[in-house]
Symmetry: C2
Subunit: 335 residues, 2 copies
């Protein structure tokens, strides 16, 4: 997604230095050789200059005015280390990485983790924005219409960030609610596991004698996911508007249509446990929604137990946590 984001940046006239992590060395070499990104299967814009991870200091030129962070969520700590070591002044950051972290039984959004991490390296007051909404990397790299929300607490910076990615195929809306956008962006993967589940269950049960499948309950679970997402966003201090917008309803809808999280959900419908399903069908795939469940599941359970969260409002959340964290077969919760 970091590489794909170079398309609207370039098309809006920005110079882009693209830095891989230590895991991306081969990709960076391939981009250097051919100009083509091997995963996106697209030629990157001419203005994009590729760098390997050990060249991060070179890539951070004196006139770098925005750092776009697109590492995987387990890579955030690594990225903070690298930037903490190299940055000499606070440069605004825009995060494409999605996820939530837990610390002392509290859920945190990644922009705050990055902000605080850099502060602990002595780089204070780095403004950190984030991007949510339905935007598949490959579609973005093909310059096909994408719908995003760019969130930043600072209105002026937000306007400026939006101006950096002006492109006809990049429908970007501003939001001051970075908490809401980030919680939605993370949870959509988590809930897609459950919304997709009936599709797999229908395969396992087979059609009813009259041909019926399980579309109605799938749709019902979509709404339940929205409802529980709305509750958690509100508890964490975000706004309902983010849930209603592209970051919430749009990205959840899209994630239920295509991608690995929905695929895992459908496979869970076949009746195996998560561990069995993962090992059997998706051993080499990252399932963000499941990883998120493993990260935040224990904290959510603790918060429910301590009555900081109302468990009766979270039947789908609890079902997903039982499935992923306690490896019990998935089932349709009582609605």
């Amino acid at each position: 997604m970091g590489s794909a984001f170079s398309f609207p940046l370039s098309d809006a006239g920005q110079d882009v230095n693209l830095v891989g992590t230590h895991l991306d060395r081969d990709w960076i070499e391939e981009i250097r050789a051919s100009g083509v990104h091997p995963k996106l299967k697209s030629k990157l814009p001419n203005k994009v200059v590729p760098f390997t991870h050990d060249q991060l200091d070179e890539a951070l030129s004196n006139d770098t005015n925005l750092i776009v962070l697109g590492v995987s969520s387990p890579g955030v700590d690594w990225a903070v280390q690298q930037l903490g070591r190299l940055l000499k002044k606070p440069i605004p950051i825009l995060m494409l990485t999605k996820g939530l972290m837990t610390h002392e039984n509290t859920l945190h959004i990644l922009p705050d983790i990055v902000h605080d991490g850099l502060a602990s390296h002595g780089i204070k007051d780095v403004p950190v924005g984030a991007v949510g909404g339905p935007c598949l990397a490959r579609e973005l790299a093909a310059r096909r219409d994408c719908c995003v929300v760019i969130a930043c607490r600072d209105h002026k910076l937000l306007d400026w960030m939006l101006s950096l990615v002006t492109a006809p195929y990049y429908h970007a809306r501003p939001s001051a609610d970075i908490i809401g956008v980030e919680v939605c962006a993370a949870l959509k993967n988590f809930y897609a596991l459950a919304v997709a589940y009936p599709r797999g269950l229908a395969k396992k049960q087979g059609k009813a004698s009259n041909g019926a499948l399980l579309y109605s309950i799938e749709a019902g679970l979509f709404t339940q996911a929205m409802t529980e997402m709305r509750y958690l966003v509100n508890v964490m201090g975000g706004t309902t508007a983010s849930v209603d917008g592209w970051a919430g309803s749009g990205d959840l809808y899209g994630t239920c249509q295509i991608g690995r999280n929905g695929q895992m959900g459908r496979l869970l419908g076949l009746g195996l446990t998560y561990q069995e399903t993962k090992a059997k069908y998706m051993a080499d795939d990252t399932i963000e929604g499941a990883d998120l469940a493993l990260t935040i599941g224990p904290t959510i359970e603790y918060l429910i137990e301590q009555q900081h969260l109302d468990g009766s409002l979270l039947p789908l959340t609890s079902t997903i946590i039982r499935t992923i964290c306690h490896d019990q077969p998935m089932s349709i919760p009582t609605l």
Copy 2:
């Protein structure tokens, strides 16, 4: 759907008299002969007694305490005529029929049309409830999980109606917001035309060279549909909760996954006009969303023109009206 609704009614212990319209004579005969509903491909519960339309007076026994109306939306006037002629006292009505009507440049929900229609026959104060939410008739007839909202302005009657359909597969939630539920139930078909459109457009354009399709904009349009639905529901006096619930988000999601409205939307993506598409691919099918556009389109255009509706908030609505009412090829609106 009227016949399918006999399943939760029967399973909750109710006696059901099932009356066909004049168009359903063959079906009623077939149900009489075999017990099997030819369209649902399911054996109806034993407690269901079939009647032809000319036996409506017999079917309305002295202890009939609820009339469930499941005619098609153009059949509502006919149903009001029949009931207006036969009813001797006000009997509560529960509507499965979905749609909106226009009268003197105002949009009206069908329960109000029925209520007022019966009043004009001298049968005053008939309470009329309605059912929304994702519930495919065939899935209901297979006793597979369905998610519905039952709406009625009268709380006591609402509780009583819910008690009549208690069944483990029938997840029914109460709502006092009959306007919101009914507007959502009608508009979901209308908006599904546009949400499904990019899937067809992707077929027409083909995959991008990197394999990209158009899932991101489909997801973006889903959110846009929700946003415009929310606006129209609010303008008509309904509540946001209905849009967020099964009647709105759930049923729209489901309608985008399966059914004729989504199919028409995908076909519109191929680039023909609505009239051409209908004639070529779906000549014999009822496309509720398109029929609704033809019914309410001119009124919505008038209300926008008169600034009773804010057209700038309704780009997707306007696109659909242009496509269906003015037979212009569909396109992605400016978002």
